[in-house]
């Protein structure tokens, strides 16, 4: 096994092009578990922790661009106002030690359907930026995942950043697990209300082969929420929203929970996060 330690992004892209089997490592919170347990023996590790620009964030036109190497701890301390849903999810990741190392880029690269950052990125309409020596491309996060731990990333590509449109409005995230810390989600749900445009974003975690959107549930809220009057939530809409979110999931029975439990829990999380988000909208306006 080789240890490739590029000092610049250009060197990293060249190294990945020359060694497409090299496994990128940033915080190591997924990769090192696989190495420690002999589950994976890549030809090389490609260490991305010496590339300063991956740890930077800033604006790019109307988008917020966050380098793939920004840790969960920094999402919480530096970006909670701009990305409240992602920050809520980041607070539920692992433990302080894990949040000091783990990155959103790693969550995208590992592509576990249970990745905590992924539902909020779906709900926020985020883009993933992929780069190689051939060039750069950006695609919606909803088109990035193709299956459990599988993505459209080509072997010579690296994840440079993710980008989030700067929509105002309430964001929520909720996750089911056996304790508050160190839990892989049984299921999770993220919701983003965009009152200015009357749009809604959703993300379902750990209840399908990939993180999923609940498109019908989004349309229901966009059409039925009393945006203009900010009136009390109609109970019928809340109930229907829960049903549509549960219906959009494609869960399986596994060691963490049954498919039936996941669907039930998702309907509860959907109704709960909708009430929280709508209360915030009524309190603070768009």
């Amino acid at each position: 096994m080789d240890f490739l330690s590029p000092a610049t992004w250009a060197e990293a892209l060249a190294a990945k092009a020359a060694n497409p089997d090299a496994l990128p490592i940033a915080g190591g919170t997924d990769v090192m578990v696989e190495l420690n347990f002999d589950r994976r023996r890549p030809s090389a590790l490609l260490d991305l922790t010496r590339i300063g620009e991956l740890t930077e964030w800033g604006t790019d036109g109307d988008l917020l661009r966050i380098g793939s190497g920004v840790t969960y701890a920094r999402i919480i301390t530096e970006l909670a106002h701009r990305l409240p849903g992602l920050a809520m999810a980041a607070r539920t990741v692992g433990s302080p030690q894990i949040r000091n190392r783990g990155t959103v880029g790693g969550n995208l690269g590992s592509a576990s359907p249970a990745g905590d950052a992924l539902p909020p990125l779906l709900a926020a309409g985020a883009l993933v930026e992929l780069a190689s020596t051939r060039g750069v491309r950006r695609l919606p996060v909803a088109e990035f995942f193709t299956g459990p731990k599988r993505t459209v990333r080509a072997p010579d590509e690296l994840i440079a950043a993710f980008l989030v449109p700067s929509h105002r409005g309430p964001h929520q995230f909720a996750k089911i697990g056996s304790r508050n810390a160190m839990v892989i989600a049984v299921c999770s749900f993220a919701l983003a209300l965009r009152p200015v445009t009357g749009e809604v974003g959703t993300g379902i975690g750990s209840a399908g082969p990939t993180p999923l959107r609940a498109a019908q549930a989004e349309r229901l809220l966009a059409d039925e929420l009393p945006w203009r009057t900010a009136a009390v939530l109609p109970e019928a809409v809340v109930g229907r929203f829960g049903e549509l979110v549960a219906g959009a999931a494609a869960p399986i029975d596994d060691i963490r929970g049954t498919a039936a439990y996941r669907r039930h829990a998702l309907s509860v999380l959907a109704r709960r996060t909708l009430r929280w988000a709508w209360e915030e909208y009524r309190r603070e306006g768009p």
């Binding site: 240890f3 330690s5 490592i25 190591g28 090192m32 578990v33 590790l45 260490d47 302080p96 030690q97």
Partner: protein, 170 residues
């Protein structure tokens, strides 16, 4: 491959490092520093917690090569102002917050970091900060006591504590 880094304030070098091995293995097996403990090897238990460039991390989840040129402080590197025990170590001894002791080094580093960030943590702060450190003896109440008493102890008075006098228990 060779890895050079500062460990507990000293420049150290390790040769023959396998690219897939962890910083924890490097510390314990190549540099002879067995303070950080090897238990779960998947970041669940926190018993290998060390500082890497000032942030507490699970050493089992850092590749050895990622420590090249970095600063590592493990439990052996924590000392009070007189070179004796740090106040957190002293408080753990005083409170009896050590049963089998396997989780203790990681807890000491995690608590040391907490108190550096939050001088008077609430119980909720303490539980949150230690959520990634498991004590399978389940001695959490004494650990909570130790953190509260360490927080009440100014770092500069650690020298006055009997256990941290030269010749006292180390």
């Amino acid at each position: 491959m060779r890895v050079s880094c500062r460990v507990n304030g000293e420049q150290r070098e390790a040769d023959g490092v396998w690219p897939g091995e962890s910083l924890l293995y490097l510390l314990r097996e190549r540099l002879g520093l067995p303070g950080a403990k090897n238990a779960c090897e998947q970041g669940e238990c926190g018993s290998c917690t060390v500082y890497l460039d000032g942030l507490p991390v699970c050493a089992c989840l850092v590749a050895g090569g990622q420590a090249q040129g970095r600063e590592v402080v493990a439990v052996e590197g924590l000392t009070g102002p007189d070179g004796g025990l740090d106040r957190v170590q002293h408080a753990f001894l005083q409170a009896g917050a050590v049963q089998c002791g396997f989780c203790t080094p990681g807890l000491i580093v995690a608590v040391h970091d907490l108190l550096a960030r939050v001088s008077t943590p609430t119980d909720a702060d303490i539980r949150e900060a230690l959520a990634g450190n498991l004590c399978r003896c389940t001695g959490y109440e004494k650990i909570m006591d130790a953190v509260r008493s360490a927080a009440a102890m100014p770092p500069s008075t650690a020298a006055a504590c009997p256990a941290s006098r030269p010749g006292g228990p180390r």
